[in-house]
């Protein structure tokens, strides 16, 4: 039998060699591309180093010699040349942003002035006006990092953009420009506000002096569940006692996460009847939320809650909930230890749990 009688009658070695040759040609192109990229990246690295050194020099001159303003600085020719090139401009922007992150007050303002003097603002605006989402988002980022408040109105239009990244950068920018007033975008937001973005905004607000949030009750009743969750976090973080009723209302939300956050918020803005409210909803709550309720009672509970907690200890079958109930009992009452010791005398598991809580409390 010969190969021409088999499958190989359809395929000849020449065909395979030819295809292999084309693979090798592509491989050679790829290898060349690797070295071109390595060269470009290395050049970029040195360019970055040069720009960093030069800008550091200028920044030091501005910061040390208080009488020199950024617009009085004379840029050397080489740097001016580099800053006329696109890659140089981006590197300079990145460098100024990085430096500004570590500075505040006059020093930070000087960086902004330098950014404007080097005409880098125009580059950021060009990016902001780009139809490409990642350029637009980056442009917004640069503009708010350099505190370009004059563009606030234009950026604000994107706080409800259908692109997640443009939207989140615009929201961050508006908070950066207007602080708590910037939160007004929550009133019109129709897209999700992820937990990541919520944390980012909360961290950003934390850098500012707390201010009034007159629309908070409205946000707590928003049809956008993400806005409600964020409003609950705001109420919790800034202890907005006046929205207690609206927060209690959130305990009826069909969303487990909203109810969870409402429980946390209530414990921070607790009133006399708060634990009673939490105890009332306990039975119909999910496992995770039951755990949260017990954890919050451990913080805000009093002797009045002991009967409820003992009942939980006796009726709950889940050990995690029992552990939380032991913790809440021991923390809610001065006699907590004794009460638990009594229960533990008949229940070895509770005794071990009590030992753990005791250890945690004494640490």
């Amino acid at each position: 039998m010969h190969s021409r009688d088999t499958f190989f009658r359809f395929i000849r070695p020449e065909h395979l060699y030819l295809t292999a040759l084309s693979f090798i040609v592509v491989t050679s192109i790829l290898v060349s591309a690797i070295y071109i990229y390595l060269y470009v990246k290395k050049k970029r690295h040195f360019l970055k180093q040069f720009i960093t050194d030069k800008l550091d020099e200028y920044i030091s001159t501005i910061l040390i010699g208080e009488e020199i303003l950024p617009d009085q600085l004379l840029l050397d020719e080489e740097l001016t040349d580099i800053l006329n090139r696109k890659s140089g401009q981006q590197l300079a922007i990145d460098q100024l942003i990085n430096t500004k992150k570590n500075l505040t007050g006059h020093a930070a303002e000087s960086i902004i002035e330098l950014y404007e003097k080097l005409n880098l603002k125009t580059i950021s605006i060009q990016k902001f006006r780009s139809p490409l989402w990642y350029k637009k988002a980056k442009g917004i980022y640069e503009l708010y990092m350099m505190n370009q408040k004059s563009l606030e109105k234009q950026i604000a239009q994107y706080t409800n953009s259908n692109n997640e990244y443009v939207r989140t950068e615009a929201q961050t920018a508006i908070i950066g420009f207007s602080g708590f007033h910037g939160l007004s975008f929550l009133g019109t937001l129709s897209y999700p506000l992820t937990d990541w973005q919520q944390i980012k905004l909360l961290e950003q607000l934390q850098l500012l002096n707390p201010d009034k949030m007159p629309d908070l009750p409205l946000w707590l009743q928003s049809t956008n569940q993400y806005v409600v969750a964020f409003a609950l976090k705001l109420a919790e973080t800034y202890q907005q006692m006046h929205v207690h009723t609206e927060v209690v209302h959130c305990l009826n939300s069909p969303s487990e996460r909203i109810r969870h956050q409402a429980i946390l918020t209530l414990s921070r803005i607790a009133q006399d009847d708060t634990t009673q409210i939490l105890k009332t909803i306990y039975a119909q709550e999910t496992y995770a939320n039951k755990q949260t309720i017990l954890k919050q009672i451990a913080i805000i509970g009093t002797d009045d809650d002991i009967d409820f907690l003992i009942n939980v200890l006796k009726t709950e079958t889940n050990d995690t909930l029992k552990l939380e109930a032991v913790r809440a009992t021991m923390k809610s009452s001065l006699d907590g230890d004794k009460i638990i010791a009594e229960v533990a005398s008949e229940n070895q598991v509770i005794a071990v749990m009590a030992k753990q809580i005791n250890y945690e409390m004494t640490k």
Binding site: L30, Y165, I199, D319
Partner: protein, 478 residues
């Protein structure tokens, strides 16, 4: 047509179709991964992780690090974990019945004392001897659990039972993590909206020959050792191309046991790690996905292409062979346990694409390659095919392999560019030339041995001796 002709036709057509489909998948994976990596880089271009590292609003995370006879490096490894940027963190070291002095060293170095702890066996495990916490408040994040030896899966299950946080990050204790690794791994969980993120996988890079100081990676070098260097290339291909493409398809079946983050509730609901397989990392991901599919809950397994975790690769053929042997057994065991999903439309991408891909091109690839190679040699000897044809086929496959490796190396340079020196890249590319003649055949042989061991019902992991990254503050190069 004679019977022999029919047999040879079936064999050759079969192998041809198999090879073409595999090559098509490689091309598809290579190209499809570009979009996912590009999107990730664009998305994270201006994320300031520093702002969130100290946040009290970030979710709580427990790092679970099983340790077995790690006495030589355990102190440094734990120090490295304790220094990670993350506010709500608990580091749980599970001493899995080590025979060396790991526990004593930990007790001394971190001023540990027994701490009463009510242990809930949400997942059944071997007995826990003691839970330790530090007397020193600066080590308040640290929990050390001493347990009876039960293997890695059992140790991780103990960690899950002990953990008091919402998310767990399972790692190999000797891995070096980047400072912001946890923030990057947790981010996908916080970005979920309608689709629940159940797990996040991180890229593993090879740390051999890299400079490590005080448990931190200081400078990246390409490994000096041939086997480790070859694995560097292999990991680039697997992580930058393969896993990114599968993540984009939402069809990822494997998150490396060396570094992965999980939603603890889902892990517990699934029953935790399976200690009856040596591929417990893959098996858990497959089971979690299956659990979500069966409950019709929209879910996602995310992947982070950033080089976040650095590990020591085997440098000897003996240890490397054991590792590949174990991986093969783990893959077969996992696919066997979940065979109900094979081409089952009920499991969507998981059943129709991921599982069949793993079955045909990961599990069956070594025996098909092994048998195929010998059949072709025999056919050439018998004159059924000409030697010229045999060599042409071999050249075709090898040339494709080079092209794929060069593409992976280019993607690495464009994206993370960890090996910046021209000589490093040249070494990597030259090493790639030897792959079809040394590294690959050895890997296939180790996998075949894995099949044999599985048939013999061998369940052990095989000893995985490591050289260690060196003692602080000296720099140790391998």
């Amino acid at each position: 047509m004679s019977g022999l002709n029919i047999f040879i036709d079936i064999l050759t057509y079969g192998i041809f179709i198999y090879s073409v489909t595999l090559l098509f998948f490689y091309v598809f994976i290579g190209l499809y991964s570009i979009g996912e990596t590009r999107l990730y880089i664009h998305k994270n271009n201006f994320t300031d992780y520093r702002l969130l590292a100290a946040s009290s609003h970030i979710p709580s995370v427990s790092i679970l690090a099983p340790a077995y006879n790690e006495g030589a490096t355990i102190i440094e490894n734990v120090r490295s974990l304790l220094s990670l940027f993350y506010n709500n963190l608990e580091v749980i070291i599970i001493n899995d019945g080590s025979k060396d002095d790991s526990l004593e060293k930990l007790i001394d170095a971190y001023q540990l004392q027994p701490a009463p702890h009510y242990i809930q066996y949400k997942i059944p495990t071997k007995e826990i001897r003691c839970v330790y916490r530090s007397k020193n408040p600066i080590y308040r994040k640290l929990v050390v659990v001493d347990k009876v030896n039960g293997g890695k899966a059992d140790a991780l299950n103990v960690g899950i039972n002990i953990s008091s946080n919402d998310y767990i990050v399972c790692i190999d204790v000797d891995c070096i993590l980047e400072q912001d690794a946890l923030l990057k791994m947790i981010k996908p969980f916080l970005e979920q909206t309608d689709t629940k993120v159940i797990a996040t996988g991180g890229v593993i890079r090879i740390a051999n020959s890299c400079e490590i100081r005080d448990g931190r990676l200081v400078k990246v070098h390409l490994p000096d050792n041939y086997w480790a260097r070859m694995q560097s290339l292999e990991y680039i291909r697997a992580f930058i191309l393969g896993r990114m493409a599968w993540a984009r398809l939402n069809g990822l079946l494997l998150i490396s046991g060396a570094f992965g983050a999980f939603d603890k509730q889902v892990v517990i609901a699934c029953g935790g790690y399976n200690h009856n397989t040596v591929g417990e990392d893959m098996e858990l991901v497959v089971r979690m996905r299956r659990y979500m599919e069966e409950r019709k809950v929209p879910y996602k397994v995310a992947y982070i292409p950033d080089p976040l975790c650095w590990t020591e690769a085997p440098v000897s053929t003996r240890i490397f062979g054991r590792q590949r042997n174990r991986w093969t057994r783990g893959t077969i065991e996992t696919l066997q346990l979940h065979k109900v999903m094979f081409f089952n439309p009920r499991y969507h991408v998981l059943g129709m694409l991921s599982y069949p891909y793993w079955f045909f091109f990961e599990m069956l690839a070594p025996p098909i390659e092994f048998i195929g190679f010998f059949v072709f040699v025999i056919m050439a000897f018998l004159g059924i095919i000409e030697w010229q044809m045999f060599l042409a086929l071999l050249t075709f496959i090898i040339a494709f392999g080079y092209m794929y490796s060069a593409f992976a190396a280019l993607m690495e340079v464009i994206t993370y560019n960890m090996y910046r020196r021209k000589t490093d890249m040249a070494k990597l590319l030259i090493t790639a030339l030897t792959e079809p003649f040394i590294f690959h055949p050895f890997g296939v042989w180790a996998a075949i041995k894995g099949y044999i061991d599985l048939i013999r019902k061998k369940k052990s992991w095989g000893e995985m001796t490591r050289q260690g990254f060196g003692q602080s503050p000296a720099i140790k190069k391998q």
